[in-house]
Every structure is written in structure tokens, then in C-alpha cells.
């Protein structure tokens, strides 16, 4: 394959780099496990039997392909053609299941017995608990104490699914600290346990592997857009926490002319406000103070309340291929209600960020086709919104 034919989103370098981002900054204890995982993923991903097994699960269990839905009312109101990729309709209610089915199937193939995971909004935790239940593995989920509080519904769902949920009380008591605790667990349990990381972050091979497991979002969406509209969208918009739903959908369009927009919360703008740093196994943009202490993110949405971002996003930002604007909590609350009232769809607070950006910027996109990744449904956020809206 010649270089010019190669997608901008292809394999990272041998050291797990996307440009100068990524890598494998983990304690020595975890190096062999990361190497083993990389080899196992590489082998499985090239194995038609594994791919067929995963495809079948995605189809018959998760409900793929997820459809696309045009928002006629909202589109007319904003003066754009607004198309949603409906990851909210997947089993368990978000895109997270794509990655989790891939990883848990792989973990089983590797002979692992236990799954450990971190979660922010609880969607990845629920997906992990679900896949573990399905494939007969035990599952432990670490969740920041603040998130346990604001995403109570998902905590109960995880328990119903047989997972153990441990509240994390250190640091900011949100996603960042849940990742720390999951990594500490993995350092101790690595021989029997697979760490099912929930986004395109962490040490190599996770950012690459998780993106590949979500590639299905972009591949389907591209085909669906071409079939339905005969052309690619002008804009592809997704929210960015660690960045997995965004990379999933971007992967289908990175080599087209579409503008790629990853929307971060104003209080967790790793690309917007961060500098390159190293935490959670990767070199990437990171919100930090003058001594390199990681700063706490603050977002209404537990799933985006994270001071870092997956390394491939840092790369896409650095080469100018994708843009990473921010929206405020107030704009998000508006967008959340707007979608519910005009389209009859209650979005997750995370992807309400994408809509908030779209509705703010719509005057500059008149007549354009905008594809938005509706990464999850908002049922989990209804309790929190009841309190906010009173």
C-alpha cells in the first residue's frame, strides 16, 4: 500500500504513536500485559472467525446497524439538514457497547476470567457489566463517588447485571480517579484480569483498539449517508470525553472533505485548554497546572468530566484535520431540552454537547448537511435534569 492511499486514521506507529501523541507510559508491571493485548488484538482482528463472531454479536445482541434519522423539525428551525447517527438505540443505550463486546470477546479468547472497568456516566460500566454477564465473566467497575451520586440509575443497572461497583473517593472523585483506581486494580490482578478501558485513551494498544471497535459507527454512517443522500455530509459532529464515539464516527469520514468537529465541555477542554502531558498511560493534551499536576475537570456531564483526551484526537488537532470547540453547561441544558421537544428524542447529556455546538453555529452552516453522533440516550440523565430544571 502506498503512503498516499493510507487513511489519516490508520495504525499508530510501533511505539503506539499518532504523530507525537500516544505511547505506553505504564508501570513495568503492566508492560507485558499491554504487549500481550496488542498481539492478541492484532491476531484476532485479522481472524475472520473473530470478526464474524463479533459481527454477529453486534447484529443480534447490540442491534446493529444503528439507523440514521433526519431531524426535519429541528433542521428546518436551524436552517440545516441535521442527521443523527442513532447510537442511542443500541442495546444498553449508547455507543459504548461496540467497544465492550469487542474487548470482552477478546478477553475471553485470551483466557481472562475477570473484567475490570472504569466508568464516568455509567454507560461504559453498564456495557461492561452486560458483556461480562453475557460471556460468563465477573466484572468490577470503578466509579467516582460524585458520579455514583449523579448517575444512580446506572449504578443500580450495573448491580442488577451482577457487577460489583466500587465508589472512588480520591482526587476529584470523577472519571479521572476511576481510571486511576482501575489501573491500580489491574496492576495487582493483571494475570487473570482484562482491563476493559472505556474510551480511546490509555496505553497502546487501547487508543487504537478501541477506535477500531468503534469504526463500525463511521463505516455504517458513511454508507447510509451515501445511500440516502448520495453524498457525504459537510460536517460530522460528536462530543468528546475520552473521544471514542467521536473517533468512531470520524473514521468513516476522515478521508472525505467533511469537517470533523469534536465538542468538548468548557470545563473539560483538554485540546482547547490543555498542554501535552502524560497521564493514564498516554501522551496527549491534558489540563494541568504549572508543575504538571493534573487539573480537575468540571462538567455537568459525567461522561465528559475528564481533563485528558485520547491521543489520536491530539494528533488530529495538531495536523488541523479536526476541530475541538467547547460549549458551556448552560448551552447543553438548552440543547438537551430542544431535542426532546422538537424531535421527541431525549439525548444523553454527553451528546447534547454536540447539539449545543450545532445550534450555536447553525447560522454559519445554512443549507449544509450536518451529521451528528447521538452517542447515547438520556434516560440516565433524567434524574439529574429533574433537579436542575426543578
Amino acid at each position: 500500500m502506498s503512503i498516499s492511499n493510507q487513511s489519516i486514521m490508520s495504525e499508530p506507529s510501533e511505539s503506539g504513536r499518532f504523530g507525537e501523541f500516544g505511547g505506553r507510559f505504564v508501570p513495568e508491571t503492566l508492560v507485558p500485559a499491554c504487549q500481550e493485548l496488542e498481539a492478541a488484538f492484532r491476531e484476532a482482528w485479522a481472524d475472520p472467525i473473530f470478526r464474524a463472531e463479533l459481527d454477529q454479536l453486534l447484529k443480534e445482541y447490540a442491534g446493529r446497524p444503528s439507523m440514521i434519522t433526519e431531524c426535519y423539525q429541528l433542521g428546518a428551525k436551524l436552517g440545516i439538514r441535521l442527521v443523527l447517527k442513532r447510537e442511542d438505540l443500541n442495546h444498553t443505550g449508547s455507543h459504548k457497547i461496540n467497544n465492550v463486546l469487542g474487548q470482552v470477546l477478546l478477553a475471553k479468547r485470551m483466557g481472562k476470567k475477570h473484567i475490570v472497568a472504569e466508568t464516568g456516566a455509567g454507560q461504559h460500566g453498564v456495557a461492561s457489566a452486560t458483556a461480562a454477564a453475557l460471556m460468563g465473566m465477573s466484572c468490577k467497575v470503578y466509579m467516582g463517588a460524585v458520579d455514583v451520586e449523579r448517575q444512580g440509575l446506572n449504578v443500580f443497572r450495573m448491580k442488577l447485571l451482577g457487577a460489583e461497583v466500587e465508589a472512588v473517593h480520591s482526587g476529584s472523585r470523577t472519571l479521572k480517579d476511576a481510571v486511576n483506581e482501575a489501573m491500580r486494580d489491574w496492576v495487582a490482578s493483571v494475570e487473570s484480569t482484562h482491563y476493559c478501558l472505556g474510551s480511546v485513551m490509555g496505553p497502546h494498544p487501547y487508543p487504537w483498539m478501541v477506535r477500531e471497535f468503534h469504526r463500525v459507527i463511521g463505516s455504517e454512517a458513511r454508507e447510509q449517508c451515501l445511500e440516502r443522500y448520495g453524498s457525504d455530509p459537510d460536517f460530522v459532529v460528536a462530543c468528546v470525553g475520552g473521544g471514542s464515539n467521536a473517533l468512531g464516527i470520524f473514521s468513516g469520514f476522515v478521508d472525505t472533505k467533511a469537517r470533523l468537529i469534536g465538542v468538548e465541555p468548557a470545563g473539560g477542554a483538554a485540546v482547547g485548554r490543555g498542554q501535552p502531558g502524560v497521564v493514564h498511560g498516554m501522551r496527549s493534551y491534558l489540563m494541568q497546572d504549572e508543575y504538571g499536576q493534573v487539573q480537575e475537570a468540571h462538567s455537568i456531564s459525567a461522561g465528559l468530566d475528564y481533563p485528558g483526551v485520547g491521543p489520536e484526537h491530539s494528533y488530529l488537532a495538531s495536523i488541523g484535520r479536526a476541530e475541538y470547540p467547547t460549549v458551556t453547561d448552560t448551552e447543553v441544558i438548552e440543547a438537551f431540552q430542544l431535542m426532546a421537544k422538537t424531535e421527541g428524542i431525549i439525548p444523553a447529556l454527553e451528546c447534547a454537547h454536540a447539539l449545543a455546538w450545532i445550534s450555536r453555529e447553525a447560522p454559519k452552516m445554512q443549507g449544509k448537511t450536518v451529521l451528528m453522533n447521538l452517542s447515547g440516550r438520556g434516560d440516565k440523565d433524567v434524574g439529574q435534569m429533574m433537579e436542575i430544571l426543578g
Binding site: F25, P27, E28, V31, N180, V187, V190, L286, G292
Partner: protein, 263 residues
């Protein structure tokens, strides 16, 4: 196998080891209340090297005690700079090394950080989240000022990896005592002696066991195979509960125990 330019730390430690002494390395969280006096107390009571932790917001290799100590130090305003200033005032006779997470180094810049350490009188660095494959740029900067990069070796490492880790280690090699993070345990893990034995087979550099060596009895047991031990959480807990004097008493107790077992 031995390069002509051993770091000063390694020269000191080899000489002591070759004279039959087991090496005792207490760890103290920099910036924690009483930390400078705790270092003086450890130095006065038989430490061979003292490891000073630079507190980090996200210490993934540390268990509850050192996490808590790091958080307290940060809450009290500790920074790498304030700790290095404190180090300059110590006036102890024992080699000092730092333990810090890689973002502290990365953020300062490799060369700048190496020279800051060197100028404060630090002779080595332990960076627990910087594995062999990622260590090149830092090691080059540290080598340039004669600062020893103490590599960690883990129980999960396959045989072929250990000689490569040892070849890159300066000062001593840190033999990780168990699968897990820092913290006190009721028993020394079986992996501790096993890994130290594997390392002794492939290297002549001092092999020191750290993580999970929690009291003087465990120190004695670990020293049957290893050239020495790091004592972390057990020291820090004493500093938080009983102040610098408790650290001095504890270091003296461990010193006496390992000395008694080597005569």
C-alpha cells in the same frame, strides 16, 4: 558489562554491598508535615539512600497511605520546586534520590528537570510510570548530568526483559516486590524473593526490593536474597502518626534487624 562511568550513587552502593552491608532505603513523601526532619532522622539511624517522593495528583502506583500523604502535601502547597528547595537545606550525609511520576518530568522538560535535581544535590530518580521503552529521552538527559536513573523490574517481566532493564539501570535496580501498588502487607509476597533471585542471576548492579516490604521481619526475609530494601508506606504511616522521631526509631529498628541477620 560495567561501563567505565558508574554514577556516584552506584559507586557508593556497590562499595557498601561488597563490604557485606544490606542497603536500607526509606521513602519519605516530600512536602508532608515533618518531612525534612524525617529525612534527617532516617539518615541518622542507618539509611543508605533516602527516596524522596515528589507528590503527584494521580499516583497510580501508590496505595492509600502514600496517596493520602501526597494529597496532604499538595494541599499544603508542596511543589517540585519547594521540595527541592527543602532538599538543599537538609545537610545529610546520605545519597538522596527522588521518586516522581513522569508528568512532573515531562512538564518541566527532561534537561531542565535533570539539572534542577542535580543542582539540588539529588543523585538519582525513580519514575514508576516510565517503562524501558519510553525511557530513552529522560535517560539521556539524566546521564548527561550523572544522575542515576533507577529502573524498576516487575514480577511480570519475562526472562528476556530483565537483562535489558538492568542494562539501563543506574545506581541500583528496583525489584518490585509484588503485583500491586505500594502499601503495607501482612506478609512478604512470594514474588519478592523470586524476582530478586532472577535479577541477581543476570546483573551485578545492586538489587533492592521495594513495594510491600512492610516491617523489619519482612526486611530481613527480603535481604536473604536481595542487596537491600525500600520501605515506603510503613515509613510514611509512621511519619503521619508519630512524626519524625517515629521514623528515626523505625529506621533504627530495621537497620538493627538486617544487620543482625547478616553477621
Amino acid at each position: 558489562m560495567i561501563s567505565t562511568s558508574l554514577t556516584p550513587l552506584e559507586v557508593t552502593l556497590r562499595a557498601k554491598r561488597d563490604a557485606g552491608r544490606k542497603l536500607l532505603v526509606p521513602y519519605v513523601t516530600g512536602g508532608l508535615k515533618g518531612w525534612t526532619d524525617a529525612i534527617r532522622a532516617a539518615a541518622a539511624n542507618g539509611a543508605d539512600v533516602i527516596e524522596i517522593g515528589l507528590p503527584f495528583s494521580d499516583p497510580v502506583m501508590d496505595g492509600p497511605i502514600i496517596q493520602q500523604a501526597s494529597q496532604q502535601a499538595l494541599d499544603d502547597g508542596a511543589t517540585p520546586i519547594s521540595i527541592l528547595e527543602g532538599v538543599r537545606t537538609l545537610d545529610v550525609d546520605v545519597p538522596l534520590v527522588v521518586m516522581c511520576y513522569y508528568n512532573t518530568v515531562h512538564h518541566a522538560g527532561h534537561e531542565r528537570f535533570a539539572s534542577q535535581l542535580f543542582q539540588a544535590g539529588i543523585v538519582g530518580a525513580i519514575i514508576p510510570d516510565l517503562p524501558l521503552e519510553e525511557s530513552g529521552p529522560w535517560c539521556a538527559a539524566a546521564d548527561a548530568v550523572g544522575l542515576a536513573t533507577i529502573m524498576l523490574a516487575a514480577p511480570t517481566a519475562p526472562d528476556e526483559r530483565l537483562p535489558r532493564v538492568c542494562a539501563r539501570a543506574r545506581g541500583f535496580v528496583y525489584s518490585v516486590g509484588l503485583l500491586g501498588v505500594t502499601g503495607e502487607r501482612t506478609e512478604l509476597a512470594a514474588t519478592a524473593s523470586l524476582l530478586a533471585k532472577r535479577l541477581k542471576k543476570v546483573t551485578d548492579i545492586p538489587v533492592i526490593i521495594g513495594v510491600g516490604v512492610s516491617n523489619s521481619a519482612q526486611a530481613v526475609e527480603a535481604c536473604k536474597v536481595a542487596d537491600g530494601i525500600v520501605q515506603g508506606a510503613s515509613v510514611v504511616r509512621r511519619l503521619m502518626e508519630g512524626g519524625p522521631d517515629a521514623v528515626g526509631a523505625y529506621v533504627a529498628e530495621v537497620r538493627a534487624a538486617i544487620d543482625a541477620s547478616t553477621v
